[in-house]
């Protein structure tokens, strides 16, 4: 896998942090992105709380998943750092980022392969 292989960043974040993440990415020059609603749980298996003497576990919490394809692993690492800064609250549930290799990328409008 050579350095200039494009990479896809998949970031699962808190919905309320999305605007901040988007803004931070934009300032760093990463404007393109795809986003959708997901649900998830991490290693804590969601949140457990006591309500009126009953234990309640809420397992699947709403999150947003961002996908951003960038031209290189360096870019991906940089963007990941930016996302982490903007999305962090320090509390459980802040989410994860995964970097996925991309073999090829195309732009539909022009039909060309892009880096």
């Amino acid at each position: 896998m050579i350095a200039m292989q494009p990479v896809k960043i998949e970031a699962i974040i808190r919905p309320e942090k999305f605007e901040e993440v988007k803004r931070s990415l934009e300032e760093a020059g990463y404007t393109a992105l795809t986003v959708y609603e997901v649900r998830g749980r991490g290693e804590q298996r969601g949140i457990e709380l006591e309500y009126r003497g009953h234990r309640i576990r809420v397992e699947l919490l709403p999150k947003l998943k961002l996908e951003i394809v960038v031209p290189s692993i360096e870019d991906a690492e940089k963007a990941a750092r930016i996302i982490m800064e903007a999305a962090r609250t320090g509390k459980p549930g802040d989410g994860r980022i995964f970097l996925i290799p991309v073999l090829k990328a195309y732009k539909i409008r022009t039909g060309e392969e892009t880096p």
Binding site: P15, E16, F18, E37, P62, L64
Partner: protein, 413 residues
């Protein structure tokens, strides 16, 4: 006649119900459009009601219901700003004049709301607001005057056919006028981007069915309220209104089932509305068995009209023409067939009075032609001046975000 308190009680309720219908139409239409235009579609119905109501108390009521001026084209100005419209009985009725004006106001409001079907998902808000004022003043008010306000039409048709056309609750004034105006506006404004190329599936059918339920409910106020009293005539109107809705729902539903193997809920709901439309002019003149026939015929005819519209590729988007225009025309005609003297004092073809049928047809055609023509011209006028349609980009993005700054359903949280 003094004030009839029971009639007043019923008309207070009826007026509220017709206002509710108008807002409810927003949900009926709103569920049928794409997600990006639902707010705009509902807003058009709210705005129709608001704009027309203000126009109505300033000028609309007097143009529609004051004694003739301009040779019976409209009423004179004696009721402008609701001057002389107070708590004393409205002429010829037992309800307060101001209540009569309010009840009729709701009719004017819904008529405009119906025709927003024509330019759904692409109309410019400014253009619509201008058109709203022009249309209600130059189309609705005159037509209401001709049919209900003692205008020229009645005596003219009587001279020609020997009978006076009747329209119990607005088959002609409301439904033919709005339906054929919608047809005209659809021609002016043109198809939606992509119409004919890809599907435009309704984005929220339950929302449309909520609208249908409100329409059905409100229609009792519309039709049975038009008796202007809490009497046997109102009771008959209520019964036949309901029966026609049921027959329309079943006829459209079963026909589409036979043809396609599936019975869409939108077909059931549209059939109910078609039945309601068609019984509107007849509600005070026909009995329940005729109502079955009228409702069933309307379900079939409007279904055929809708299929025809799709076949010819006409984007009168939410079918005001196919349902209200065609259903209203059919109802006006069938009133002339099934009217029973014992019920509403008017005899139709079946009781040996072909003149009434002729009067119904002539009256309906005149209104249809007037509404279509004047609306077409008004549509052109607005389009050439402030513009009746948004840009391609705006249409692509959706009216909700562009014109209203809103997204109907939130994203993220």
């Amino acid at each position: 006649m003094g004030i009839d308190a029971a009639a007043t009680a019923w008309l207070l309720a009826s007026t509220a119900m017709v206002v509710f219908m108008t807002l409810g139409l927003g949900f009926f239409y709103g569920g049928l459009v794409r997600r990006k235009n639902v707010v705009a579609t509902i807003a058009l119905c709210f705005l129709s009601l608001a704009i027309v109501s203000i126009q109505w108390i300033i000028i609309g009521y007097t143009l529609s219901f004051a004694p003739n001026t301009l040779g019976g084209f409209v009423g004179d100005l004696r009721y402008a700003l609701l001057n002389n419209v107070d708590g004393s009985p409205a002429p010829g009725t037992g309800i307060p004049h101001i209540l009569y004006a309010a009840f009729q106001m709701a009719f004017a409001g819904i008529t405009l709301a119906i025709l927003t079907s024509a330019f759904a998902e692409r109309v410019s808000l400014g253009g619509f607001m201008l058109l709203a004022v022009l249309w209600t003043t130059l189309v609705y008010d005159p037509v209401a005057h001709w049919v209900w306000g003692g205008g020229w039409l009645g005596s003219f048709v009587k001279t020609v056919t020997g009978a006076t056309p009747v329209d119990f609750a607005g088959g002609t004034v409301v439904h033919i006028a709005s339906g054929f105006s919608a047809l005209a506006l659809a021609l002016v404004v043109g198809k939606r981007l992509g119409f004919g190329e890809h599907e435009f599936p309704p984005h929220n059918i339950p929302l449309t069915l909520i609208g249908a339920a409100i329409l059905w409910f409100g229609w009792f106020g519309f039709n049975a309220g038009s008796a202007l009293a809490a009497n046997a005539n109102a009771a008959n109107a209520l019964m036949v209104t309901h029966i026609a809705a049921c027959a329309g729902a079943l006829s459209w539903g079963l026909l589409s089932w036979a043809k396609t193997g599936r019975m869409g809920s939108l077909g059931i709901a549209s059939g109910a509305v078609a039945g309601l439309v068609a019984i509107t002019p007849a509600a005070g003149y026909v009995g329940p068995l005729a109502a079955i026939i009228i409702g069933a015929a309307a379900g079939a005819a409007c279904y055929a009209a809708l299929s025809y519209r799709l076949r010819v590729g006409l984007d009168e988007s939410l079918d005001a023409w196919a349902v209200h225009g065609v259903g209203g025309l059919l109802g006006a005609i069938l009133t002339g067939v099934f009217a029973e003297k014992a019920i509403g004092g008017v005899a139709g073809l079946i009781e040996g009075n072909p003149a009434q049928l002729a009067a119904q047809v002539l009256g309906a055609l005149i209104v249809m032609a007037y509404a279509f023509t004047v609306t077409y011209l008004l549509g052109l006028l607005v389009d050439k001046t402030v513009g009746l349609r948004v840009t391609e980009t705006e249409e692509y993005l959706g009216l909700d975000i562009v014109q209203h700054g809103e997204e109907a359903y939130s994203f993220g949280e």
